[in-house]
């Protein structure tokens, strides 16, 4: 039984940090959630997955994470089909931040972040645990909360603790499902700066985002999902256009270049007040 097998260290192909869906279709009780979805997040880039509610973003991320088995097509991590990796090997290759991160018992923030090191127990990497945990706490500004019980924290602080845990896992692939949902403006920026920094270190970072302006400002590339299908893939400047977004979100949307940075700013079209 695998519960008892000693985890055998297997060299992690850091350079091969990549995750890919190829022609993935997935349906639940006859309702098709993903149709022939293909995209790839490569080493060194932040890929934003955007789209309206129910477009299939979280489902795509779950397939990539290995939580769901696609009806057809294949999910690949580091070039290898997900089912061909063992649970522990996968845990050393990719870290996942789901939307819901409630913890059943009142562990401290420090305990929870240290749990992110679990896949490395018994390997050489274990020696660096303290340092990695400290860095992960510092990255999200949670160092001073390390001794606090999770149940005493606000929603945003709990979300940052969960993100710290994911960062501490120290994997080549990061899959983040709406990491900014509970966060204020400053911490939202922090999270995407962390994502960019990890991409800069050669990691592959996939971020599901609702805020298109955020995607435009921080992502290297954007994948737009609509009703389970990929409708566009490419750099934000090319993909996030008024016509495409207006059609996908079924709501008039304005896109204009930011006067200083030149990056696209995306806003719903609001009629000017008459004076």
């Amino acid at each position: 039984m695998t519960v008892f097998t000693r985890r055998t260290p297997r060299p992690v192909p850091k350079t091969a940090a990549s995750a890919e869906l190829s022609d993935v279709s997935f349906a639940v009780s006859g309702k098709s959630l993903l149709r022939k979805v293909s995209f790839e997040v490569r080493s060194g880039e932040v890929l934003a997955l955007v789209g309206p509610n129910g477009a299939g973003k979280s489902t795509a991320l779950a397939v990539l994470a290995g939580d769901l088995t696609p009806d057809s097509g294949e999910a690949r991590i580091a070039g290898e089909a997900v089912p061909r990796w063992s649970t522990v090997d996968l845990a050393r290759l990719r870290a996942v931040l789901p939307q819901q991160n409630a913890v059943s018992f009142p562990f401290t923030v420090g305990d929870v972040v240290r749990m992110g090191r679990a896949p490395w127990a018994g390997t050489d990497a274990e020696a660096g645990d303290d340092e990695v945990v400290a860095r992960a706490l510092a990255a999200t500004g949670m160092t001073e909360f390390a001794g606090r019980r999770l149940t005493t924290l606000s929603g945003g602080e709990q979300a940052r603790a969960a993100l710290s845990r994911v960062l501490a896992q120290d994997t080549g692939v990061l899959l983040l499902d709406e990491p900014t949902a509970a966060l204020d403006l400053r911490h939202t920026e922090d999270v995407l700066r962390i994502a960019s920094a990890r991409a800069g270190d050669g990691n592959a970072v996939l971020v599901v985002l609702h805020d298109l302006g955020l995607a435009a400002a921080h992502a290297d590339r954007v994948v737009v999902l609509d009703r389970g299908e990929v409708v566009a893939t490419g750099p934000p400047g090319e993909v996030l256009t008024e016509s495409l977004l207006t059609e996908v979100y079924r709501h008039p949307i304005e896109v204009f270049a930011h006067p200083r940075t030149g990056k696209p700013v995306v806003l719903p079209h609001r009629p000017a007040e008459e004076s």
Partner: protein
């Protein structure tokens, strides 16, 4: 106080308390024996010192008192560990071995054996059938609550509720069908008591208890990860299904074996891990060994009270644990809820 100091203090207090309660419990009863004599007799058997002058005291100690004390330690420790294990697996501090149907399943087996007068294993027949009943029920609940290789916590607990209902119907039927003597035996078995303790029972329970506790200790780090959620635990490399199955089998083994000798003793598996968690936090690597000691201490103390509260009467220990445990549990819940805004 740092955590290490706290944990060390907790283990020291629990261990010292357990030893003390055991000595007192062995000395007290209808024939009182000095604490010094109790200790002396134990030391003598360990090859130190001289035997007791009073041969009646010696035989009372070794044939009546000590089997009961040791059985109390084992049953209490097992119930404490099983409670911690269940709560970890279900991610719910209110889960208890009784919830998955071990206790009522064991009760069904035991009642059937009492009513049918089964004697195929001599005096082991009732414990053996109780054990079989508990194991079969737990595995049944687990099998019924699984779908497509996964088990939902809510489904599992609700299945446990349904199984418990069926089990109490069967027990009620055995009460109806049995004669006067069988009825009394079944009722007393349901109330729980360590009065029937004998060395052979202790010897059969011991390996199962040790095996269960060892499995629980091996699983402890993975149980911590499970607190993050099933999905998160899987992302961190835990084989969640295997973890659950192993934990449930361990609980079924330990608890059926324990309750089949002691009858149903409630609340130990609920209160003990709860109390430990409030003192030193929820990490299972401390929680499980601490629950073992605290369960043993609690049940030994409860048995001492059960034997000595009323002259010439042995109060069923299940009554005692429930009457003290119920309100205490309620108080714990209210207190924890006020302090940390949730069930801890």
């Amino acid at each position: 106080m740092t955590r290490t100091v706290k944990v060390t203090a907790l283990f020291t207090v629990l261990a010292a308390g357990t030893v003390l309660v055991c000595l007192v419990s062995a000395g007290m009863g209808q024939y009182d024996i000095d604490l010094g004599d109790v200790a002396g007799s134990v030391l003598h058997r360990l090859g130190l010192g001289s035997p007791l002058a009073d041969p009646f005291a010696e035989s009372t100690l070794w044939q009546v008192r000590f089997p009961r004390v040791v059985l109390g330690l084992l049953v209490g420790g097992v119930l404490g560990v099983a409670g911690a294990l269940m709560q970890g697996v279900f991610g719910n501090p209110l889960a208890e071995p009784a919830v998955v149907g071990v206790s009522s399943g064991a009760a069904v087996g035991a009642s059937l054996s009492i009513v049918s007068g089964a004697t195929f294993l001599g005096s082991f027949s009732t414990p053996a059938l109780g054990f079989a009943g508990g194991l079969v029920t737990t595995m049944g609940v687990y099998a019924l609550a699984r779908s497509r290789g996964r088990s939902e916590v809510v489904t599992l607990i609700l299945t446990g509720v349904a199984v418990n209902a069926v089990a109490s119907a069967v027990i009620a039927f055995t009460l109806f069908a049995g004669d006067q003597a069988a009825r009394e035996q079944i009722v007393f078995w349901q109330l729980g008591s360590l009065a029937s303790a004998r060395w052979p029972y202790v010897v059969t329970l011991l390996p199962l208890a040790v095996a269960g506790v060892v499995v629980a200790l091996v699983l402890s780090r993975r149980l911590d990860l499970l607190a993050l959620g099933e999905r998160q635990a899987r992302h961190l490399g835990v084989n969640v299904e295997a973890l659950r199955l192993t934990a449930i089998v361990a609980v079924a083994l330990m608890v059926s074996a324990a309750v089949s000798y002691s009858g149903i003793i409630g609340f130990v598996g609920l209160i003990v891990p709860h109390g430990i968690r409030m003192l030193v936090g929820p990490g299972h690597r401390v929680l499980i060994p601490a629950s073992l000691l605290a369960g043993a201490l609690l049940l030994s103390a409860a048995d001492l009270a059960a034997r000595t509260l009323f002259d010439y009467a042995d109060l069923p220990i299940g009554i005692l644990t429930a009457i003290v445990g119920g309100p205490f549990f309620f108080w714990l819940l209210l207190r924890t809820r006020r302090r940390s805004g949730g069930w801890a």
